[in-house]
Structures are given as structure tokens and as C-alpha cells.
């Protein structure tokens, strides 16, 4: 009897041990599974964000470039000259420093520099003078780091005044080099 009781006890103990082992094991496996799942999700999550982030940076660069081009197109200020002169004035130089900054920020932009004169003087002489003004402007921009291949020049002499009046104010405005962004 005792023997059978011991045997029963031993069986129960075995079963209990088995149960305990089974109980202890189950949650452990479940936990592991959960951890595994969450790790997988965490790994997927950052990968997805990163992908999107890459696209975001790409879009931004184009926009930044476009903005720089827009800024250059709008922001390139004309410069002005003294009568019968193509030497750059100090004011003209500081304007060109600003223009050069805009151009360096927008390296894809190509520009046409137009040289103009006021109506005084002979038409042919003024065509030559307008060209000297355009070239002086271009050379200064080159010295400020704008790539020479991005710039071309043309002289209109006195043919295209922005102010057709025949007075000093108009003449001052018309003696200029201005910038056109090429498409």
C-alpha cells in the first residue's frame, strides 16, 4: 500500500513537475514570440521612415535649386555706368557681389548680360561701348567665382532704353548692364 502510495506520489510529482515545466515553458515561448514580433516591427518601421526621408530630401534639393533659380531670375539687379564709361563704379561692384552670390547658389542658371547706353553719342560707338560694359560686367562676375561658360553677352547700344525720355534721369537709368536668365 505504502509502495503504491509512494508510487502515486511519485507519479503525481512527475505530473506536477511536468505541468509546472509546461506552465513555465508556455509563457516563455509566448514572450519570445512577442519579442520576436515587436523586433520585426521595429526593424520594419525605421526602414519605412528612412525610405520616406530619402524621398523627402530629394524633393527638397530640387525645390531649393528651383528657389535659387527663381531668386537669381528675380534678384539679379542691373548695374549703372557713368557717361561714356565702362569702368565699374563702387556701387556697381557691390551690386555684382550680390548678383554673384545669387548665381553661385543657382549653378544651373545661364545668363545673358546686356550692355546698354543712353541716347547721347553715336549709335555705332554706343554699340561698341555697350559691349564693353557687358564684358566688364561678365569679367567681374568671373572674378567673383561665377563660371564663365554660364554667361554670354550682347550689346544693344542705345537701341533699347528703359526710359525713352530725353533727360538726365532717363539717361542715368539707361546706361546699364542688365541680366536675363536663359531658358
Amino acid at each position: 500500500m505504502l509502495k503504491s502510495t509512494i508510487a502515486r506520489l511519485a507519479v503525481m510529482l512527475f505530473v506536477l513537475t511536468l505541468l509546472a515545466a509546461g506552465c513555465a515553458k508556455k509563457p516563455a515561448t509566448e514572450e519570445a514570440a512577442v519579442t520576436e514580433q515587436s523586433t520585426q516591427m521595429e526593424q520594419q518601421q525605421p526602414a519605412g521612415v528612412e525610405e520616406q526621408a530619402v524621398t523627402d530630401t530629394g524633393y527638397d534639393a530640387a525645390a531649393v535649386a528651383r528657389k535659387a533659380e527663381r531668386d537669381a531670375a528675380k534678384g539679379l539687379e542691373p548695374i549703372h555706368f557713368d557717361f561714356d564709361q565702362y569702368v565699374l563704379t563702387e556701387t556697381a561692384k557691390s551690386t555684382l557681389v550680390n548678383n554673384a552670390g545669387l548665381l553661385r547658389a543657382a549653378p544651373a542658371v545661364k545668363i545673358l548680360i546686356e550692355g546698354h547706353c543712353d541716347e547721347r553719342g553715336s549709335d555705332e560707338y554706343n554699340l561698341a561701348l555697350g559691349e564693353k560694359r557687358a564684358l566688364a560686367t561678365k569679367n567681374y562676375l568671373v572674378s567673383l567665382g561665377v563660371v564663365v561658360e554660364r554667361m554670354s553677352t550682347i550689346s544693344y547700344g542705345e537701341e533699347m532704353p528703359i526710359d525713352p525720355a530725353h533727360n538726365k534721369a532717363a539717361w542715368t537709368k539707361n546706361r546699364r548692364a542688365n541680366f536675363k536668365v536663359k531658358r
Binding site: 553719342g121 553715336s122 549709335d123 555705332e124 560707338y125 554699340l127 553677352t153 550682347i154
Partner: protein, 435 residues
């Protein structure tokens, strides 16, 4: 008609014999200094064609305009004319020269016209009243619309007969007008009649010049963006680009023999004077200076070129020898001398000088002496160009604030008058050679 044909040949012979009658009396290069009292009678109908008063009136008006412009004549007042003016008699023996002597006329023009089968015939005589001799006789046959052309051609003939040098009245003037809103090339008669637009570039067309040997013009146009040199055949309208170097291709001028073109190129980043062949290839470079060199104008012999340079500070006129390339300075007075034009008959160079912001026209001898101011007062007078006989100058003038117009005057600055209508902003005139 037989009578006319026979008399025409007699007249031509007489013309050859007598054409120099007045020649010794008139200095060609100094019109206006000496005048001949001249009676110009109205054309009378001859033959069977009937009367066409409009023809006679137009002829009278055109011929009178030319004769007055020449400055060679003191016209007898038609109101004082006596009975001979109303008689068709064109033969020497049919004319009552005493009537004309009484009026103080020393020369007399008589003529008749007829229109038959759509053809206009005008027959004309110029007589020396004092010696009662025929100086020149001409018969012209053309279309009814050729009245003006005939009048101009006869005016040229009158000057030839009296001075030995043909007049320039039947030639053409090219110029630039902004009438359409764009600067385009135009052509008109010397008296400003019938401007015809030659280009439709809708851009900027500048600086025309006539070929001396062909009915052809060169000019600069921005049609393709860059100021390129173009050539255009006047009658066919055919056009091509002759020089399209990067930078300026401006101020093209045919050499007197028509074989080369002087112009300004700036392909090496500075304006210099070059000679091109008529195919557009560069023959040689004439100037080499960091300053501005523009506006070439040939000497009549074609061995020198006057041009504008600021190599000594302000714009002045210089002369370069095209063989030695030696440069001499021509003008020293004034602060801004530009657009030289060498008289095709030699002697003087015309140019435009800016003083106190106003351009006036001056001339100077080829050796730099005897500078003379031809125009005065307000109005910018620019771009002088000579007539082929060297008697007249055309130029642009913006007098009166109506923009520029083309004006004409005698070589001594007298007789100035506007020939192109206001409102076109007309500039850059060029005078054709014999048409």
C-alpha cells in the same frame, strides 16, 4: 514723230558740241555761290495724245524741287513769263530768246509731252539764252507713272550740261525707320518720295550701305539675336547673312570698287575695323587697339579708311592706311566726333560733333585743316552721308521734338530741308551710287 526723231539726233549732236558752254562758269564743289537765272516753262501737250495737265504739273513740281535744291539757279518768276512760254516750239529757231533776255533769264527749259497707247513721251530742251544755243536735248519714253523719274533724270542732265558733273537726283536713299514700331530698312527717292519698306525683321535693323556695283544693300540686323551683317538684293528681295561672328558685326561699308567691305567686328572681345570679302570671309584686320574702333568710311581711292576711335580719350576721327595699317589722327577739336563720311569726290570728310549735348555736322579737309561747321542750333544732326557727286549731304535731324527725320543740304550747309515725313524716327541714311 519723224520730226522728233530727226531733231533728237541733231539735238544730241548739238548737245555734245555745246554741253560745256556753262561749264567754266560754275564751281561744282561750291553750289550756291554762283547762280544762273533760269526760266522753267510748263510742259505743253504735243502730238495727238491730248492734254494731261496733271502730268505737266507733277513734272514741273519735281524738276523745280531738284533745281532749287541744287542751289545753282535763280528761278525766273513764272508770273512774268511772256508769250513764248505758251508756244510749243522746241527748235532753236522757233524760240523768241529776246523775250527771255528781257526777263533776265540766262537759261531756258522748254518741253512737251504726249501720252499715246499708255506710253508717256517727254521731250526737253535746255537753251543758253545769251548765245541762243541748245545746251542739252532729251527725249524720254516711259510709262505714265514715270513722270517723276523723267524729271529727276533730266535734272541730273541739266547739271551735267552746266557743270560737267551729273546731278544725283535720280538716285535712291536707304534709311532706317521705326514707323512700324521696329527699326526696319526703307528705300526712297532723293526728294523723299515713296518710301518702301525693304525688311520685315521685327527686330533692330541698322546702318545700311549700297553696293557700288550691284543693286544690293548691306546692313546690320538683330533678327537672329546677334547683331549680324546682312546682304539684300534690292529687286529680288533675296537676303543672306554675310558676317555672323560672335559680338558686333556693324557699320558695313562697301569699298569704292565693291570688292571688299569694311566693318566693325568684336569677335575678340573688343571692337576693331576689319576688311571682309563680299563672301563674308575676313581679308585683314586694320586696327589693333584696346580702345573702341568703329564706323569705317572709305577714301575715294579705296586706300584709306576714316574711322572713330577713343584711343586718345574721347571719340575722334582717325585715318588708317589699309596697306601699312598706319593710323593718323584727323580731328582734334571738340570732345565727341563721330560717324565720318568721306566725300566720294575726295577733298573733305564730313562727321558729326557733339557739343553741349547737341550733334552738328562739320567737314574737314583730308589733311585735317580747314574745319567748318555746316549746321547750327538745336536738333541733333547725325550720320552725314554724301551724294555720289559730292554736292549734297543727307543726315538725320531730330529738330522740333518729333523724333528723327532725314534731311538734305548742300555740301556748304545751305538749303537744308527735311525730306522724310515726321513720325518715323528715321535715321542712318545712305545714298546710292548711280542708279
Amino acid at each position: 514723230m519723224k520730226y522728233f526723231k530727226a531733231s533728237f539726233f541733231i539735238i544730241m549732236t548739238l548737245y555734245l558740241l555745246c554741253s560745256t558752254a556753262f561749264a567754266a562758269r560754275i564751281e561744282i564743289s561750291a553750289p550756291g555761290e554762283q547762280t544762273i537765272p533760269l526760266a522753267l516753262t510748263r510742259l505743253l501737250p504735243m502730238g495727238v495724245g491730248g492734254a494731261h495737265p496733271a502730268v505737266a504739273t507733277e513734272f514741273q513740281q519735281v524738276l523745280l524741287g531738284d533745281l532749287e535744291l541744287s542751289g545753282l539757279f535763280d528761278m525766273t518768276n513764272p508770273a512774268s513769263f511772256l508769250s513764248d512760254a505758251g508756244k510749243l516750239g522746241l527748235r532753236r529757231t522757233e524760240i523768241d530768246f529776246y523775250q527771255w533776255r528781257m526777263l533776265g533769264s540766262e537759261a531756258l527749259i522748254k518741253g512737251g509731252y504726249s501720252i499715246t497707247a499708255g506710253k508717256l513721251t517727254i521731250e526737253l530742251r535746255l537753251f543758253d539764252v545769251i548765245t541762243q544755243r541748245l545746251l542739252t536735248g532729251r527725249r524720254y519714253v516711259g510709262k505714265v507713272t514715270d513722270v517723276r523719274k523723267i524729271a529727276h533724270t533730266f535734272a541730273d542732265q541739266i547739271l551735267k550740261s552746266l557743270t560737267g558733273e551729273k546731278g544725283p537726283f535720280s538716285t535712291k536713299i536707304a534709311y532706317i525707320s521705326k514707323r512700324t514700331g521696329h527699326k526696319e530698312l526703307y528705300l526712297m527717292d532723293v526728294d523723299g518720295y515713296k518710301p518702301i519698306r525693304m525688311t520685315n525683321h521685327r527686330s533692330i535693323v541698322l546702318n545700311p550701305d549700297f553696293s557700288p556695283t550691284r543693286k544690293e544693300l548691306i546692313f546690320t540686323s538683330y533678327k537672329k539675336g546677334n547683331p549680324d551683317l546682312y546682304r539684300k538684293e534690292i529687286y529680288t528681295g533675296q537676303e543672306s547673312r554675310l558676317s555672323l561672328k560672335s559680338g558686333l558685326n556693324i557699320g558695313g561699308r562697301y569699298s569704292p570698287d565693291g570688292r571688299e567691305i569694311a566693318l566693325t567686328l568684336s569677335k575678340d572681345k573688343n571692337s576693331e575695323i576689319y576688311l571682309l570679302g563680299t563672301d563674308g570671309t575676313i581679308h585683314r584686320r586694320l586696327t589693333n587697339h584696346y580702345s573702341i574702333d568703329v564706323d569705317p568710311s572709305w577714301s575715294p581711292k579705296g586706300n584709306k579708311i576714316a574711322f572713330v576711335s577713343d584711343r586718345r580719350g574721347n571719340p575722334n576721327i582717325f585715318i588708317v592706311d589699309i596697306h601699312s595699317r598706319e593710323v593718323t589722327r584727323l580731328t582734334f577739336e571738340g570732345k565727341y566726333n563721330a560717324t565720318p563720311a568721306w566725300n566720294p569726290k575726295g577733298g573733305r570728310i564730313a562727321y558729326s560733333r557733339m557739343d553741349d549735348g547737341i550733334f552738328n555736322i562739320f567737314t574737314i579737309r583730308e589733311n585735317g585743316t580747314d574745319e567748318r561747321q555746316l549746321t547750327f542750333g538745336s536738333g541733333n544732326k547725325e550720320h552725314p552721308r554724301w551724294s555720289p557727286d559730292g554736292r549734297f549731304l543727307i543726315y538725320s535731324n531730330d529738330l522740333g521734338g518729333n523724333g528723327k527725320s532725314i534731311w538734305i543740304m548742300r555740301a556748304d550747309g545751305t538749303g537744308a530741308k527735311r525730306i522724310s515725313a515726321h513720325g518715323g524716327n528715321d535715321s542712318h541714311p545712305a545714298w546710292s551710287h548711280r542708279w
